[in-house]
Amino acid sequence: MFITKKHLSRRTLLQAGGASIGLPLLSAMVPAATALAQTAAAPRPRMGFFYLPHGAIMDNTRFGAEMNRWTPDIEGRDFDFKPILEPLAPHRDHLTVVSGLGNKPAESSAVHAIVPATWLSCEHPRQSHAPFAGVTVDQIAAAHIGQDTPLPSLELATEEEGGGAACDGTYGCSYGRTISFRAPTTPMPMEYEPRKAFEKIFGRGKTPEQRSEVANDYRSLLDMVAGEAADLKRKLGPADRILVDDYLESVREIERRIELLGQRDLSAVALPEIPVARPDFDDLIRLMHDLVVAAFQANMTRIVSIMLAAEVSNQPYTHVGIPDAFHPLSHHAENKGSMEKLVVVQRYHSQVFADFLAKLAAIPDGDGGSILDNSILLYGSNMSNSNSHNNFPLPTLIAGRGSGTIEGNRHLRYPDRTPLANLLLTLLKRAGVPAESVGDSSGELTEV
């Protein structure tokens, strides 16, 4: 590997604590250096946000309770499982089903185009093609508990995009293709290629040797460009130095990632095999979940957001006997036959989620618990009845016990149209994230 002497010493400083180098000390470095020691000792909760588009068949159709396939009848402990949630029954002790929630800020005439982006922000976005939306709770969490992992957060999807209705003449396309906003104008793209997702989490290369070779290449390149940028900076006026500072900050952020990555022991982690050909949907969605399991296990990130299908997805579910495309099917026209088909699709997603939970439950984490014990995973939709595109009652559940902050095995029913934001705020607090409010929140759901 090629490293000049000057730059070698710069990196040594970086690893040793990051002080006293000539370039401005930037925020990204500080947590990198300080938090490393803490990570092993005090596991912090993982947070996951699992977005299922197009609502669920529950007590939200003209048939009322007769067609309810989601909401348990029993409140409190030892609740019953309706067909959609039934696959999750083995994880009862780690489940909290929350009923009665609604999300008013998600309402608009653009029935699909703003639903994804408002799920985790509960804030109505600006009517513009250029994005301007509320910051989402996954990113709020990432800013607080995601800074000492190689990736502050991870955003995944299973499809590149759905049909045209995910865009809108008024709201554009910015709010329909992601559930994550780091800043009002910064939507986080959702990675849908398993290969790219893998490389983002674990680095490029198929074998540990290849990954280490790539990391070496990057280290040398970063040394070179850091030196070049510093030279360039000397030639520039004050206004332009800011640009170079941004560049150098990015250099340090990538360096930080590579160093953290290099320190992770992956020998005990089952890294998923990524096939060359794009897998079919069932294999792909499970692969994406396996990547999340591995990322959590290796402590590559603590925060994951995933769109389980694209908004306005045209994905057929032939693998569970439903050849219809998801979105057209979701316009069930209050027809029982169509609704039962949709139940099969939604139940399938519960099954995938249940299998994912089983893997998390099998991985020890901290003092005798599992990763699932230490996780807070929100699963649900930001739409209720996919035929009328309303946003109440929202199908919502939590998996995991948040390192003992969430009891589990309960069905909680809140008054109708309790803001979803109240739950999001509650989850942030349970994860140790200081937050005063989220979107239109009016308080916490202390019972959770």
Partner: protein, 822 residues
């Protein structure tokens, strides 16, 4: 006087040619400041306009827009040009006084504006050059891809390799916002590594998958790049990394994105012949559909479809390394069989009519056998090849010197080459000569010297130094090349720069002329003009299929093609740019001709036609423009009016001010029946009318064009006649596209100045400021003498001080820090 806080809508209506010429002549001759009548004195005669029509709101008490004329004097102009340029814009654009109130005669306003411009230009001439500040440019995605193609002779999929760029001021090359986030840097490093491996080549590359989509491509027309006599499909440039076998899979359906989409599979009813070619040579042919496939489908349902599809998956072909054109398409049947015009019968769904190729996957290489013959990129890299170990390092040096000169767009020295050799040595130690070269090429592509255009010459120092200085010839060459070609300079330009001759105005002009004549200047159409007119959005709008069942991807691509050809025919043929608004020709194929009601065109080839229907003349009659200014389900005079103000007149309307009621929801039982009725509220509420009185009539004149640009005389839903009449803010009645066109070209410098401003923004890579306006007025006046040709605007910009000069940065506290050294 206080300055405006809000960003004020730019641009304008305005002054007759003779006054414009006088104003600009003045800017050119600094002497005009010493004319008999000082500009302030001339202005004083117009001052009553401010008192009579402006000071009612803009006074110390009302303080509208935080702006007062109470203490304003003609002598203020030189001291506060920023504010007065805004006044000029407001008046030129008829934005003020607001519609609905009393306004002075147009002649009086014109004379006042002319006089103001005169004074501003005179003040600028005395003040001296203010070329403004441009940050170091990072190559954007388009420029990066062009640079790679220039270096190695292959195309990269920039969208897949590199992050998207943020646009500002309507363009994606604005230096200030081309930042580098960690995601960017990560992807640049990855791209540098991937591209270097591809360029040098590997004997046994890893198995990789490439997937190409044709979601936006057509299915019934011939596609450029595919063999004649074929229909639909896609042609892609694919780089095969080594000699070997590759699997090609085709995704076939009739609806994009839903390959297994339910029943009926009507599109399998007839036999369609499908071919795959590589560099024009047929490598695969088979039929899909017809009796046997229909039977399979009947009997086996979904599984049957899978079996049919399997015939088009994993087609194993042997290919030699290099960039190749891979094409897959259907053989066109005669039109009598009806591939055409099978329109959707089910609202929103459409009837699957013919099979369509929407994706092509290439996986390989299997059984790779190295790189037999050379590739273009290897030829370009290996300008020498060592026969013995001792020759290796000198050869590596030669290779990097050659590549770096082109990649860094300038002569290079040891300081540029040595770091690359460092990478070479590391790679050579771990592997062989070529491994070393690959590492060096990787470093070259990751270098900020490649990624940035940032080589400011040393500014003259000292307290007495001027506030601006001429950029080096080298930087001038870069600016010129990126402006006209969207890529780095060629050898001729670099040579002239090296000889220090490019700064010579005649040489500069001759070079600009040469570059405009070169085909690379087509980026001014595809890159500049498409962004200027916002027509790239044509890809992003999906008209409501229930309302516009005739719209399909064929039509979308025809819209795009027409616009590209039309713009090219005016911008690159030395015609007056006013022809953009008025030209009586366009380019159509049969599909688009039918859409426009022209029934004499046959076939898929685009050709130039003279338009008999004058409503279709110029940009306002082009479907792409009409569609990007509509909602998917209805037209919007507001969007169209705002588009005209922003893109044609360069005076974008202000956004809705805080506190203004914007809820137009009608009372129950009072549902408006037409778009016009919906907008009636804009007229009755003064707070709306201030802006919408300017915006709406412009768009209303185009109301006879529907969302996809078809002419209509009645509303679709209720059969009510379309009323496109209106009165522009300046008082001119306009009732249809022709009158709108006449109104907007009555004072040609309005539009020309708007285009000049947009072009200058793009050329400089920064938003324009008040101190640029004297230059803009001069460029427009010079262009008038050249018949308003596009070339004359390009030349005018290339000669402008903002283009040729750079402001000396203002020192600040950081300089002191910097002086201490790192």
């Amino acid at each position: 006087m206080t300055r405006f806080r809000r960003r004020v809508p730019k641009r304008s209506r305005v002054h007759p040619l003779r006054t414009a010429a006088a104003v600009v002549g003045c800017a050119l001759l600094a002497a005009c400041a010493q004319r008999d009548i000082p500009p302030e004195a001339a202005l004083a005669a117009h001052w009553p306009i401010l008192d009579g029509y402006c000071a009612d709101c803009h006074n110390d008490t009302e303080y509208a827009a935080e702006f007062s004329f109470d203490a304003a004097e003609p002598a203020d102009i030189a001291a506060d040009p920023e504010t007065w340029e805004k006044v000029v814009r407001k008046l030129r654009g008829d934005l003020m006084p607001p519609p609905g109130g009393p306004r002075p005669d147009a002649e009086r306003v014109d004379a006042f504006v002319a006089s103001l411009g005169d004074a501003l230009d005179a003040a600028a001439a005395i003040r001296g050059p203010m070329p403004g500040h441009v940050s170091p440019h990072r190559l954007n995605r388009t420029e990066y891809a062009r640079a790679i193609e220039d270096l190695f002779g292959f195309r990269i999929d920039a969208a897949a390799l590199l992050p998207n760029d943020i646009a500002s001021e309507g363009f994606d090359n604005i230096a200030e916002v081309l930042g580098v986030s960690p995601t960017h840097l990560d992807q640049y490093l990855a791209a540098a590594r991937d591209i270097s491996i591809r360029a040098v080549g590997e004997a046994v590359p890893e198995l990789t998958r490439a997937y190409y989509r044709s979601e936006r491509e057509n299915r019934t027309m011939h596609v450029a790049g595919l063999p004649l006599g074929t229909r639909g499909g896609l042609a892609v440039g694919h780089y095969f990394p080594a000699d070997g076998e590759y699997d090609i899979s085709l995704n076939i359906s009739s609806i994009p994105g839903a390959e297994l989409r339910g029943y009926p599979y009507g599109w399998l009813e007839y036999r369609h012949r499908l071919v795959v070619t590589i560099d024009g040579i047929k490598v695969f042919e088979d039929f899909i559909g017809g009796e046997e496939d229909s039977r399979t489908l009947d009997q086996e349902q979904i599984q049957g479809v899978e079996r049919i599809r399997d015939r088009f998956r994993n087609i194993r072909v042997s290919v030699k390394a290099g960039q190749r054109n891979v094409a897959a398409s259907f053989i066109a049947r005669s039109l009598a069989e009806g591939d055409y015009l099978l329109q959707s019968l089910t609202p929103g769904e459409g009837v699957p009519d013919v099979p369509r190729l929407y994706g092509l996957e290439i996986i390989g290489p299997y059984n790779a056998t190295g790189i037999g013959e050379s590739t273009v990129s290897r030829d370009r890299i290996f300008v020498c090849y060592p026969r013995e170990q001792g020759a290796e390092r000198p050869c590596a040096r030669e290779i990097f010197a050659n590549l770096a000169t082109r990649a860094f767009r300038r002569p290079v020295d040891a300081a540029d080459i040595d770091p690359l050799l460092g990478f070479y040595d590391a790679g050579r130690n771990d592997g062989d000569f070529e491994a070393g070269i690959q590492k060096g090429v990787m470093a070259l592509l990751a270098s900020t010297k490649f990624l940035y255009r940032a080589e400011p010459g040393d500014a003259p120092a000292g307290p007495d130094a001027a506030s601006a200085y001429a950029v080096s010839d080298l930087e001038l060459a870069w600016r010129l090349a990126f402006f006209i070609w969207s890529q780095g300079p060629d050898e001729t330009l670099l040579e002239l720069a090296e000889q220090g001759r490019l700064g010579d105005p005649d040489v500069l002009e001759a070079q600009a002329g040469r570059m405009l004549a070169d085909r690379r200047s087509s980026s001014l159409v595809t890159n500049f003009a498409f962004q200027w007119l916002a027509v790239r959005r044509v890809e992003m709008i999906d008209p409501d299929p229930r309302l516009y069942p005739n719209f399909d991807e064929d039509l979308r691509s025809a819209f795009r093609e027409e616009m590209a050809l039309f713009l090219d025919s005016i911008l690159r043929e030395e015609r007056s740019v006013l022809d953009l608004l008025t030209a009586n020709h366009t380019f159509v194929n049969e599909r688009l001709a039918r859409h426009y009601g022209i029934d004499t065109v046959r076939g898929d080839r685009f050709r130039r036609v003279e338009l008999a229907d004058s409503r279709r003349f110029g940009l306002f009659g082009k479907a792409s423009i009409l569609m990007v200014t509509s909602y998917p389900d209805r037209t919007s005079p507001v969007l169209r009016g705002a588009w005209i103000m922003e893109h044609i007149l360069a005076t974008p309307p202000a956004s809705v001010p805080a506190g203004v009621e914007t809820d137009l929801t009608p009372a129950p039982g009072d549902i408006p029946r037409t778009v016009r009725e919906r907008l009636a509220r804009h007229r009755t509420e003064p707070s709306c009318n201030h802006c919408h009185g300017v915006i709406d009539p412009l768009g209303q004149a185009l109301e006879n064009f529907n969302v996809i640009g078809e002419w209509r005389t009645h509303e679709r839903d209720n059969g009510l006649p379309i009323d496109s009449s209106g009165t522009l803010a300046g008082g001119m009645p306009v009732n249809d596209p022709e009158e709108l066109r006449r109104a907007l070209t009555a004072e040609p410098e309005l539009f020309v100045q708007a285009l000049a401003e947009k072009l200058m923004t793009y050329a400089l890579g920064r938003g324009l400021e008040y101190y640029d306006m004297p230059s803009v007025r001069a460029i427009v006046a010079d262009a008038a003498a050249a018949g308003y040709s596009f070339d004359s605007l390009v030349l005018g910009i290339a000669r402008s001080e903002a283009f040729r000069m750079r402001a000396v940065p203002e020192p600040d506290a950081e300089d002191a820090l910097q002086a201490r050294g790192d």
